[in-house]
């Protein structure tokens, strides 16, 4: 009975993480399109939600690779996964609140690392795996996207520079429909599967699925796809505003170049078996498209804050994951620990966000409980 309750809590927490992953990462696919008015905000989030949902059904390859090569598979239990998810959700919400784009995947990996470290010690962590799969891609993605988007916008301006701005802007806005759709589809095939992988691992650990064959049940695919699509549709407008208009004030050519360069980098890396964070990639691409036009066009102070958030993602989520696991252990191996932690987290969120949200809404003259588009 106790293990059944823990399983239900882990599944619910995983779907909650999937939801935060969706609204946190909406910006990756649509921020530049909304900013350049290639799409209306509602159309953009609806398109992105549908393609994220569809993408979740296309391939299940990523689902089997959750934290593999980073954390010893024997150390991954339902409570370690639960603690890791709490760390990732907390970080996603914190960075969303400050409007900072950061990697949900790195947050999840960090949370699981922290929980596994507290559970089994340093031997449970593969240091080389962390370098190869987290640190190197984390540095590589924004730098590469910055350079590619910079070259792309210089070439684009050289080709269309003498044309009338009207047709040029219309053309690049049409191009953003395609590049935004590609980004959304790629995101759906990657991120929804992380939740599928986690729920499947929990079901295996609980004995509901055979351990020798990694097979994702249909209900897990449908629920994960639905959670990320709903999160995407809700839209994390704070981060969309940051990526779309606060880093640089972009024109349609820059928006298209950033999105196309970002999509090219993500898909090329995926093709070579070197998955990169879509968040890091699109943020770097936006900065590159701005800096190539004029260095001072980029708000470097904000870019620095984003970089700090990226650097802090792994240690902060590891700390939260580790503390959550330790707190859970105080209540023994039953369901009491996860129940108490979930209640604490929900109460904390209600206290922090409820009060600030109402205050912000009343200041802006908007009804409480809404976070409207830019």
């Amino acid at each position: 009975m106790s293990s059944d309750i823990i399983l239900v809590i882990v599944v619910a927490t995983a779907l909650a993480f999937d939801f935060t992953n969706g609204f946190h990462d909406t910006a990756n696919a649509i921020a530049t399109s909304v900013s350049t008015r290639a799409m209306t905000p509602r159309f953009a989030v609806a398109m992105s939600a549908v393609l994220n949902f569809a993408g979740a059904f296309i391939s299940l390859a990523v689902a089997a690779t959750i934290a593999s090569g980073i954390v010893d598979s024997d150390a991954i239990t339902t409570t370690v996964v639960f603690a890791g998810l709490i760390g990732a959700i907390a970080w996603n919400l914190a960075t969303w609140w400050f409007g900072l784009p950061s990697s949900s995947s790195h947050a999840l990996i960090g949370g699981v690392i922290g929980a596994a470290f507290v559970a089994d010690g340093a031997s449970a962590i593969d240091g080389e795996g962390v370098i190869e799969k987290v640190l190197v891609p984390g540095i590589m993605a924004p730098i590469l996207a910055f350079g590619v988007a910079g070259i792309a916008i210089v070439i684009a301006y050289a080709v269309v520079g003498r044309l009338r701005p009207g047709p040029v802007n219309r053309g690049y806005r049409h191009g953003q429909l395609v590049s935004g759709a590609m980004f959304s589809l790629a995101h759906g095939t990657n991120d929804a599967q992380k939740t599928m992988g986690i729920i499947t691992l929990a079901l295996i650990a609980h004995g509901d699925l055979p351990a020798d064959k990694f097979e994702v049940p249909t209900w897990v695919i449908v629920s994960s796809a639905s959670a990320i699509a709903m999160g995407t549709y809700v839209g994390g407008w704070r981060i969309i505003r940051t990526v779309g208009s606060r880093i640089i004030k972009m024109d349609p050519a820059q928006g298209f170049s950033a999105q196309a360069a970002g999509a090219a980098v993500v898909l090329t890396a995926s093709h070579l078996g070197f998955p990169l964070s879509t968040t890091h990639t699109i943020s770097g691409a936006v900065m590159g498209a701005g800096a190539a036009k004029r260095l001072s066009a980029v708000r470097w102070g904000l870019a620095g804050n984003i970089a700090v958030a990226w650097v802090l993602t792994l240690p902060a989520t590891a700390l939260i994951g580790g503390v959550t696991y330790a707190m859970n252990s105080l209540f023994g191996s039953g369901a009491l620990g996860p129940i108490v932690i979930v209640l604490c987290v929900v109460s904390l969120l209600a206290a922090i966000f409820g009060r600030r949200w109402s205050a912000a809404r009343s200041t802006a003259g908007l009804p409480a409980g809404t976070e409207g588009p830019a």
């Binding site: 993408g55 080389e128 370098i131 988007a149 684009a156 298209f256």
Partner: protein
């Protein structure tokens, strides 16, 4: 630490991603250049030049479509 990094793969990623990103932006810009100039030249009655720019736009569109199809195939088959 060095053993964990496949330098060859990183190098391949850099040039391939740069090539793909720049190719998409350049080809799509050619579509805009070709279609925009073709329309203007047609209105000016310069049919030959309009056809040449139209062909440039078609070439760019085909190249972009090929890159998009390749991108979707990468998404679908990974």
């Amino acid at each position: 630490m060095i053993a964990a990094i496949d330098v060859g793969l990183l190098f391949e990623l850099v040039w391939a991603a740069a090539l793909a990103g720049v190719a998409v932006a350049a080809c799509f810009s050619l579509v805009i250049l070709g279609s925009s100039r073709a329309g203007e030249l047609r209105r000016e009655g310069r049919g030959g030049a309009a056809v040449a720019y139209g062909a440039l736009a078609v070439f760019g569109a085909v190249a972009v479509a090929a890159l998009v199809v390749f991108g979707i195939s990468v998404i679908v088959t990974k």
